[in-house]
Symmetry: C2
Subunit: 602 residues, 2 copies
């Protein structure tokens, strides 16, 4: 029996609510977006009393379906001013699902100027809201250690770091790793860490004592689907564990992680280098997934099993893709940072002209420790460089700037935690790579137009995960690549956006997308697990579209118009080397993404 | 024969254009807003190539009508993202009007990254665009001195200071005083100084050699109107030169300047103190117009005619109101800053909890020298204090922070020049007093609701001059005060907004409003001068409304909706002492301001 935990930070009270019938099929993003759209006044100040932070495990979390324990976090974004969902792996989705919590809704806030911080502990049918100033003002690595001592049962932990506590718009929510040693699982985007900080909550700790595995309503269908999906995932060259003729494993994600994309995108000329000035990075190989793989192997040779470096590491219980990693220090084999993802490597690497892997790892470790989104912060540092304050390629300069964010009284530190738009505008930069105020990720929209359409039209602001057309435009589907230069990408983007909204609700990791696009059996497996769990026949596309419509309506009521579905002017005016193309998709084509389904405000 | 000078900064070319018939009756704001609305793509980046900066003297500039030589500057605002007009006194309107220039339209920009700066010299039928790096990167006081040496004919000068050259959103356009010794005449608002800076123009110098007084088409009507208006202005207690029984002059503006309002507003409880936390300032008297008056008198006693302190100083040729001043150093009698206006004294004084007149004067001098709008910058410093970086009341702390803006490499300096919204958001402040991104002026909207309606609904963003209901709500019209607490203020605000749009086009200073509201003869005089000049019958209200509609349509196309016609949440939620009221005007009432005339997008 799923429940909703509603926490009111005005008076630090809580209550348990029965899951209403209209939310029965909604979990993950479907849950957070519906609750935000229905309960949050769209014009409210996202960092004051009337915003809500909504947390929900995916529908299949903890069920044993493969890679299905993602956690969604939603609210009104202080970065975009619109609705937001960000999701992450880690332990919390599993813990909450096992104790029957479909969602946590945090509303209200202690009075402005209050100096007390709180932590929230969720157990089966119980919730404690505890005054706890010890957890505030410290790095997330230290914080995880402290919590582990106070709660030695390996609970799920999510929270905000220093950046979120100070309401920096670049702040994400961190989550603990499955080993509970590391705060590297981030629901990073949209500044939702600042929303948690505005509620004066540092950490939410969930313990599953007395909990159990959620039971599918139609176990037979669920099991059949699970097997199909596992089979399809394991067979796919991106997500699988295949071996070549010589017995060498070549599953892309398992061996090289998401960072396998660095060389591919740079080769394709769509890797935004030095703040979106070029599309190919001469230093790509040195920071690529292959380089990380090699470094891990080298420390393994040197230190044997004592190395903490690894690849093929799962971010959530039950993940069989295992694309995560831990990057070791070369000289000691100790873990430097985990994980080092493609987007982060790009944001803090090629985007800054930095090709020293250890510098990139250190910047990422600092982001994690401060509770900052790597994509937003990488772009923010990019603007610091574009504005002439630090030189492109200067890893030490970037590190020093980022370290300022520990100091509450450092203006640079506060700015570094505030996102690329604010940094760029402060420095008079007119090449700020944002959509709806949120920084763009690691694919330049000029040579790869479909992802540009997603960036522009997504309800989430600049975000690749909301409609990852790269799968079709660069990696290919069913053996065929969709021309990245084509200017007609509205249907492609819409299809990806709607399917993604479904996946983000199911609890599945978005990386099942490769195998469900390529393998009908994989798609069927995904659908059968969801349908079997609910004992319903859920249409993937319409389920996704309904979420998108709900989100879009929130944004409309928050004051968004089609004008907000545009990319910054410089993408249309400055050609990107080496292909020297601009983003030429027409406004009419952008508006077509949502036009067939409902009228956007004009 | 009026002409338009069109300057293209892409190739530094220019051409003279005949004034087209549809612009014949448009000057000042009517000219700038029409040209911006018709020629500028509303979605363009305001600091890139496609924005235009439009400059136009008021219709009656240099005609001999009293106080009628205001200069309008327009463009898309980098601060609000909407259309903008800012106007100022000084010499330039007179100079341009005398050589038949109805407007200057500056378009294009040198390539991004260009290092050359330009100055523009406008003479009768001639324009030079001169490479001139000597004028860039220096304070505006030094700049005025340099230009005066290079151009010894006392030309009109407008330009941008260091802040605008670095594209700071708080930058205004400075203009020289009628004596050509001082850069204190600011078209300050909306960040238009940064638009000029983005065109890489430091200064526009206008010389009226060979020019002549513009000739009204119906001189008889014009003259009759002029006399009525002069008579009404001179009789009015606010604008006049009346004396009491003992022969002591008591004309408010002539003797105390706009700063006469400080004590009045503080007494009324509507003076936003310490970043809009309180409505009454205990130090008001010490920085009031009366205090300036006394200081000037004291230095006159001490230094005789050698004091440079003064009150009753005109900001433009032909001004008979003469509300400007020069604040002297007490110990030397030398001028410290000119002018020290009510809004500036508030922004840099009570708003920061500073009650030391010399500190306020010094902050204002720094703003002028840097080319920063005092209202925007005062609020920006207010956010620095609200964010805990400098203590309220710390004049030296505020001065030191502002001085950082000279240093291109100072992050604090760049932030101080970027406006209150960016500063507040960087520091996690959730009490940022802006409307459409622009800082509010010196009247708290909570106890004085009409001005709040203007702030919220004006096309210009937070701006008192766009519909100064204070005249009715605090000062009274025809001897009667309109209840400031009433929640029905849409009609009042609309009436003020439309009349203001007319006045801003005529070239008249807004301060004629007091006498035209109180004295039918004054209103008739205003209308007859305009009608006589054009030989037309111009309806004041419809002329103004047409401008507002044009502006609003631009904003709609730029993506604005009624949601942008709202004040920040804290005004509705935090009561303001001493009256402890919030801004309770309904959204429906706000939407009524424009609703009768056209539909805004929803």
């Amino acid at each position: 029996m799923s429940q909703i935990l509603r926490i009111n930070m005005n008076d630090r009270s809580h209550r348990w609510e029965k899951l209403p019938p209209e939310l029965e099929t909604f979990a993950g993003r479907a849950f957070t977006s519906n609750v935000v759209a229905d309960e949050v006044e769209p014009t409210c100040d996202p960092l004051r009393e009337y915003n809500k932070l909504v947390i929900s495990p995916g529908l299949l979390s903890a069920t044993g379906a493969p890679s299905s324990s993602r956690l969604s976090v939603g609210g009104k974004s202080p970065l975009t001013g619109g609705i937001k969902e960000a999701n992450a792996g880690g332990l919390t989705a599993t813990k909450l699902a096992r104790i029957g919590v479909r969602g946590i809704i945090i509303e209200g806030k202690p009075p402005t100027g209050a100096s007390t911080w709180y932590s929230v502990v969720v157990r089966k049918g119980k919730c404690e809201i505890i005054k706890n100033n010890d957890y505030a003002g410290i790095g997330t690595y230290d914080l995880i250690s402290k919590i582990s001592k106070d709660y030695p049962t390996k609970p799920g932990i999510i929270g905000c770091g220093i950046a979120g506590q100070r309401l920096g718009k670049g702040a994400g929510l961190f989550g603990n790793s499955i080993e509970n040693t590391d705060p590297g699982r981030f629901a990073g985007r949209g500044g939702l860490g600042a929303v948690l900080g505005s509620k004066r909550i540092v950490a939410i700790i969930s313990d599953d004592a007395g909990g159990s595995t959620p039971e599918p309503k139609d176990r037979t269908k669920f099991e059949a689907g699970r097997k199909k999906l596992v089979d399809a995932l394991m067979k796919h060259p991106i997500t699988g564990r295949l071996k070549d003729d010589k017995g060498k494993p070549f599953g892309a994600l398992k061996n090289y992680g998401t960072n396998v994309l660095t060389n591919i995108l740079s080769e394709a000329g769509g890797y935004p280098t030095r703040a979106f000035r070029e599309g190919r990075f001469e230093g790509a190989a040195k920071i690529s997934g292959e380089a990380v793989h090699e470094l891990v192997d080298k420390t393994r040779e040197k230190f044997g099993d004592k190395t903490e470096g690894k690849y093929g590491h799962p971010c959530q219980p039950g993940c069989i893709i295992a694309c995560s990693n831990a990057v070791p220090y070369e000289d000691t084999g100790k873990a430097h940072v985990s994980p080092l993802e493609y987007e982060s490597v790009w944001a803090l690497g090629g985007n800054l002209g930095i090709d020293v892997l250890q510098d990139v790892a250190e910047l990422n470790r600092l982001c994690n420790d401060l509770g900052l989104d790597t994509i937003e912060t990488g772009n923010t540092l990019g603007m610091l460089m574009e504005g002439g304050m630090v030189k492109f390629g200067d890893g030490k300069g970037a590190t020093n700037a980022l370290k300022q964010a520990y100091d509450e009284k450092s203006i640079l530190g506060r700015l570094v935690a505030s996102g690329a738009k604010i940094m760029g505008e402060t420095l008079g930069v007119t090449r700020i790579p944002v959509a709806k105020g949120q920084s763009l990720p690691a694919y330049d929209p000029r040579p790869i137009r479909g992802i540009g359409v997603t960036y522009a039209t997504s309800n989430m602001g600049g975000d690749h995960t909301s409609g990852y057309t790269i799968a079709a435009e660069i990696l290919g589907m069913k053996g065929k690549v969709t021309d990245p230069r084509s200017l007609e990408k509205s249907e492609l983007s819409r299809a990806f956006q709607s399917t993604t909204a479904y996946i983000d609700s199911s609890g599945y990791c978005l990386f099942i997308a490769f195998c469900i696009l390529d393998d009908d059996n994989g798609f069927a497996g995904m659908k059968e697990t969801v349908d079997g769990f609910l004992d319903k026949d859920i249409d993937v596309t319409s389920y996704g579209l309904e979420i998108l419509k709900k989100e879009r309506d929130f944004n409309r009521r928050a004051g968004f118009t089609p004008i907000d579905d545009r990319l910054p002017e410089f993408f249309r005016k400055e050609p990107l080397p080496p292909h020297n193309v601009t983003f030429d998709v027409s406004d009419a084509e952008l508006d077509k993404v949502y036009a067939p389904y409902w009228h956007a405000a004009v």
